[in-house]
């Protein structure tokens, strides 16, 4: 991915409303760079599919602008779509065998017959569809159908590939294989927009992640930056060389309160313990303070470790695990000022 090159996709205040005051998405501003994999992450109804449909010209935006490969999505039409690849969320199939489906799709896109044939073979092997080659769509398993759909889209050349939840229903191995292939394609210059519910795969695959909630963009950054910024409270484990006495524990609890941290274990104040577990909002920043506190109380430690930040933690920190589900018909929340939603971000101590 090259961050110095001009973006291949740019949106500014992009919005779509199904009805007056009912926004599916609103004020989305982001970009996609050449060879970049951008993840769109969010709950059901967050606006991921609507965004993809707008960016692929299937749905005209009602607000803002979206420029894809230098063309406005409102006017780009066929010329723009000819440069895109789209794997939609809904299952779409023709009633011929998998093999014929692939070559037929290549034909539809104007891929020369010989190229389509060899590409179909490549896709059948890559997406493990050998057993399904002569089967018709209704005879495929859910996972096979999804693999087939991704394979089919890769039959033609494109500059940006949009994948709307392409790994739903896939087993871990198939998922890993597809993600690895997408990564290789991105390294060869293909830009990818990838929507998913699966936080782990977004973490693994995406160069940057946009978190959508109720139609609004809550954050856009690398996975690591999101984890650091929104990861919320994490655990710190400390192994002391000598047990922590109850009176020192009580003092630690008091001192930690000023550091936005708390003692998780030992839970009881009565018994001494060598293992201490804390929970802190800014775990990395707390470590030097904790080290000084331990030494300042004539104690030593063998080991001090911080639980790894996860994207899930960041995601939940941002949207809250009790966030209300947006409805399919769009959300009035999408019309609220961004600050109101963003204020929910950042998990507190639990």
């Amino acid at each position: 991915m090259s961050s110095s090159l001009a973006p291949v996709l740019e949106t500014r205040d992009l919005g779509f409303s199904y009805a007056p005051g009912r926004f599916a998405i609103r004020h989305l501003t982001f970009d996609l760079r050449p060879g970049e994999i951008l993840g769109l992450l969010g709950r059901n109804g967050a606006g991921k599919t609507t965004t993809v449909r707008i960016l692929t010209t299937l749905l005209p935006p009602t607000e803002g602008t979206a420029v894809v490969l230098g063309q406005d999505v409102r006017t780009g039409g066929r010329a723009l779509r000819a440069r895109l690849g789209v794997v939609l969320q809904s299952e779409s199939l023709d009633f011929v065998t998998v093999e014929r489906n692939l070559t037929l799709y290549g034909f539809l896109w104007g891929v020369p017959r010989e190229v389509a044939k060899s590409r179909a073979e490549e896709m059948i092997e890559l997406f493990e569809l050998e057993q399904a080659r002569k089967r018709k769509p209704w005879a495929l398993s859910g996972g096979e159908r999804r693999r087939f759909q991704v394979a089919r889209e890769l039959m033609h050349d494109m500059e940006i590939l949009f994948l709307d939840e392409p790994t739903v229903g896939l087993d871990a191995i198939a998922r890993r294989r597809i993600l690895r292939y997408l990564r290789q394609r991105a390294q060869r210059g293909l830009s990818i927009v990838f929507t998913t519910h699966i936080l782990h795969e977004a973490d693994m695959l995406c160069d940057r992640i946009a978190i959508l909630h109720l139609g609004r963009l809550l954050a856009l950054d690398t996975a690591d930056a999101l984890k650091q910024r929104y990861g919320g409270a994490r655990q710190i484990s400390v192994e002391l060389t000598t047990p922590l006495l109850p009176e020192l524990r009580a003092e630690l609890v008091r001192d930690l309160a000023g550091q936005r941290a708390a003692v998780v274990s030992p839970a009881e104040a009565a018994s001494p313990a060598s293992s201490v577990v804390l929970r802190a909002e800014r775990a990395e920043e707390l470590l030097p303070w904790l080290s000084r506190w331990i030494h300042g109380h004539a104690l030593e430690f063998d080991r001090m470790s911080v639980e790894e930040a996860t994207l899930e933690g960041a995601f939940l920190g941002m949207i809250g695990d009790d966030a209300s589900e947006a409805t399919d018909g769009g959300s009035a929340d999408a019309g609220r000022p961004a600050g109101e939603l963003v204020r929910r971000a950042g998990g507190g101590l639990t």
Partner: protein, 256 residues
């Protein structure tokens, strides 16, 4: 060589949705009607009523019937594409709505005209071609083409409105039955036809098509056929425009 988008869509329509069994049934049914119904009824229906053998009367009717076959094929293709999200998938590619519709209409026309050829081949031993002039052949093809566009437009417009497969296929079957039996495909309008039925027959485009094709076969094309073609052309235009209008507003998302 890269074919134009419309032709690529036509090839795709034939390849993906028209399996040999469907084609066999679609063409086989009227062929069986000509052979079996024609033979059996010829012996019991007076030639005074039909102006010749019943089979000779029936063949032009079955030729006219091809416009329904073609229209139904097109309506079903569209419905299945919608149901299986292929409309959305196709429109995410380098195709326009007009090209997709054009592809459907062209598929309809090809299917209908092939059907006309099959029916004429089957019917020739029964009717001969002595009276069929080049003008008559042109009138037959034009009639079927206009009728096909009419039925295709009607069913596509219907397909854009309905979200239930049961509703679509039930209405489509009922419409076929209604249109075929309330027309002059199987029987002529005579002085003994009840007035209300005769009036209904004349409200049915298939009647005009069957009559015109029958006149073309008999070499008796006249002013009435010209009017019939004009009516068919207007109906085809209205149905097609309705389909285009419905299609423009169509949410491309799949039917769940």
């Amino acid at each position: 060589m890269r074919l134009p988008p419309v032709l690529r869509l036509v090839v795709r329509n034939f390849t993906s949705n028209l399996d040999p069994l469907t084609i066999l049934i679609r063409f086989g049914q009227p062929v069986i009607t000509i052979v079996v119904l024609g033979t059996m009824f010829s012996s019991i229906i007076s030639s005074n009523v039909t102006g010749g053998s019943y089979t000779a009367f029936l063949v032009p009717g079955m030729v006219a019937f091809q416009m329904i076959t073609g229209g139904v094929i097109s309506g079903n293709l569209f419905w299945l594409d919608r149901r299986w999200a292929m409309t959305e998938q196709i429109f995410s590619g380098p195709f326009l709505r007009s090209e997709y519709l054009g592809g459907l209409v062209l598929t309809t026309l090809l299917f209908s005209l092939v059907g006309v050829g099959v029916m004429m081949l089957v019917g020739l031993p029964f009717i001969g071609i002595a009276s069929l002039s080049p003008l008559g052949v042109g009138a037959v093809l034009l009639t079927v083409a206009l009728g096909s566009i009419f039925f295709a437009g009607l069913l596509i417009a219907l397909g854009t409105r309905l979200r239930s497969a049961n509703a679509y296929f039930s209405i489509q079957s009922f419409l076929q039955l209604f249109v075929i039996f309330l027309s002059t495909v199987y029987y002529p309008i005579t002085s003994r036809t009840p007035r209300i039925l005769a009036a209904t027959f004349y409200g049915n485009p298939l009647t005009y098509a069957a009559n015109t094709i029958r006149d073309a076969f008999n070499g008796t094309l006249g002013r009435a056929d010209l009017v019939a073609l004009g009516i068919l052309a207007v109906l085809a235009f209205v149905a097609f425009v309705s389909a285009v209008a419905a299609f423009r507003k169509l949410d491309l998302g799949p039917i769940q």
